[in-house]
Amino acid sequence: MRLLKQLLKSPFFVLGAGLFLLTLSIGLLGPSFTNVDVNTRAGLAYMPPSAKHWLGTDHMGVDMISMLVAGLRSSLYVGFLAGTVATSVGTLIGLYGGYKGGLIDDVLTVGTNLFLVIPSLIVLILLSASVENGRSLTLIALIIGCTTWTWSARAVRAQAASLRNRDHVALARINGFGTLGIVFFHIMPYLLSYIFMVFILQMAAGILSEASLSMLGLGPYDSVSLGKILNEAKTNEALTDGAWWAFAPAMVLITTIVFSLYIINTSLEGVFNPRLRK
């Protein structure tokens, strides 16, 4: 409660949380306000905004508002799923390695650093190109989660290692707690705020990665995503035709989500890390 009060005092947090809740509610409540239909042609190609179609139509004549709501839902879904997977994998590896130390820690650290250096987009391209026939949105989110966990593992490991030699951990060890018991009940609770911040950044990374993949033409076959809207607009000459409504709103949405997540993260950092607060 005290934490929330402190957070609400930070203008950055209010702005970030407000923007994020706004996009979230557009995604969640959008379908109940407008008829989201991305499969029927409601008009001609690239019709400019009008009273009937507030943001015009895309190259197939599909209503842009429908496309945007559907795309936003997919992008948020990818963000949540990829963020959850990446944070869980990274946290587990980081906590375990950081607490255990020694050889296991060395092996995990080397592995993490290896995949940190190899650009994750490259791994994503190779993986996505290989599952050409069944590239569903969920699969893409899982693939993204499995390739972007590295820096959260690195960040969590450093924190866990600093807690390893605390007295309460030693006490738990004497009392016969197993490794997993100590990791989950005596180390993780101290890092929850940190892990939450990592999760927020991983979500942003997931949304950006999906959009990048879609820009490459490796997007999901079964849904509309914000990245796919942009890719379709680019490949179907929306730029040269001057059809700004086919890409600008999708850009604004992606940027708003990522920006809101970034400033939520920095405002949380300001509260959790008092040294930055002045």
């Binding site: 290896l114 940190l116 250096v117 190899i118 650009p119 994750s120 987009l121 490259i122 791994v123 391209i125 190779l126 993986l127 190109a129 290989s130 599952v131 050409e132 026939n133 069944g134 820096w151 942003a204 950006l208 959009a211 990048s212 820009m215 490459l216 033409g217 490796l218 942009l230 607009a233 680019k234 730029l239 040269t240 001057g242 700004w244 890409f247 600008a248 850009m251 992606i254 940027t255 990522v258 920006f259 970034y262 400033i263 920095t266 950092e269 040294r275 930055l276 002045k278």
Partner: protein
């Protein structure tokens, strides 16, 4: 010998580590595409025989199979075939060893889309563009971003209040979004700069004034799109680094002594730089990937465009060639940063001076 030269020992250690990383990367590059249902070998076969009559398709297929050592070949150089006339596949391990050998010789096979052309030729033509775009952008962006970050942390006030949200926004805009916006506003609407391509149509890449003038004109928009993002991200990192430094005793003491602002800023910058340099090494992969996608938006004749056309046409030899090369470039850049850190890090330098 290495014991008395800590810097050298450090560099040799890093080189060894990157050699291992390279091996992992090349393994990933080979095995990942072969994991899924769309096996590149089958795709190659299907692709090769598309729109050709039976005999020439067979000849082309055999050429590919032999090139990548995918099938058993008898001593006379003919492809071994089983009872149904299907070529006999070599084992995956055999293919991998062959792939390693080819990659080390930088022989990446021939492209499917642009058939007789070698992948290494295509990459050789694309690489200078990518390097010319990304190297200066990332280095300049890093320097200016860090300068701005340090200044914002030191000055605070209006400058910081303005710069910080802007930097956050700049780093939140995906590279391709900003690129598309630039193309639309400055390339198509205002027509200040050419929207797509790397140089004027009539020219060929050569060392002439006309070509350079044209190329630098086309350079502006891609540069701006990648630059702003690098600057934003670095400024944020440097700012929080410097706020931390500002709270340390040496800065307070220096202020009490009345040392000039610029000198304190310099001390701070020096101390905050090392973690920022390590941060650069970690962020390089993401930066390069972002810049590659920005290249596609501008149809810049670099590697990004090569990757895009390769993916669109299922040109596996070209995809894996490009991904391998991008990885190698990122690893090389990382290694250079690490070597630089070895020279700048006072802990490694001190060990060198005392001879321990």
């Amino acid at each position: 010998m290495l014991k008395n030269r800590p810097t050298l020992a450090y560099i040799v250690g890093r080189a060894g580590w990157y050699a291992v990383t390279f091996f992992v990367a090349i393994t990933v590059n080979f095995f990942l595409p072969r994991l899924g249902d769309a096996n590149p070998v089958d795709t190659i076969m299907a692709k090769v025989s598309e729109g050709l009559d039976a005999t020439s398709a067979k000849a082309k297929e055999e050429a590919y199979l032999k090139e990548f050592d995918l099938v058993e070949v008898d001593p006379t150089g003919k492809v071994k075939r089983d009872a149904q006339g299907k070529p006999v596949r070599t084992s995956l391990g055999h293919q991998f060893v062959n792939y390693l050998g080819m990659s080390v010789r930088f022989d990446l096979g021939s492209s499917i889309l642009q058939h007789p052309k070698r992948v290494s030729e295509i990459i050789k033509a694309a690489l200078p563009w990518t390097l010319a775009l990304q190297l200066p952008t990332i280095v300049l962006g890093w320097l200016i971003g860090n300068g701005l970050g340090a200044l914002a942390a030191y000055r605070r006030g209006v400058f910081d209040k303005l710069m910080y949200p802007l930097a956050l926004l700049a780093s939140a805009v995906p590279a391709f979004c900003f690129g598309m916006l630039l193309v639309y506003v400055f390339g198509i609407r205002l027509e200040w700069f050419p929207a797509v391509g790397g140089y004027d149509d009539g020219l060929t890449p050569e060392l002439s004034f006309a070509f350079f003038r044209s190329a630098s004109y086309y350079y502006v928009l891609p540069f701006a799109s990648v630059f702003s993002i690098v600057v934003g991200g670095q400024a944020i990192g440097m700012r929080s680094m410097c706020i931390y430094e500002l709270g340390t005793d040496y800065v307070k003491y220096a202020k009490l002594l009345g040392i000039t602002e610029s000198k304190i800023l310099f001390y701070m910058f020096r101390n905050a730089m090392l973690p920022q340099l390590t941060g650069l090494a970690l962020a390089l992969g993401t930066m390069v990937a972002g810049a590659l996608i920005a290249e596609m938006i501008f149809s810049y004749p670099g590697l990004g465009m090569a990757v895009l056309t390769a993916i669109q046409g299922n040109d596996y030899p070209l995809i894996s060639g490009c991904t391998l090369l991008v990885t190698v470039c990122v690893l090389c850049a990382n290694f250079s940063v690490d070597v630089l850190v070895g020279f700048l890090d006072p802990r490694i330098r001190a060990a060198r001076q005392t001879g321990k």
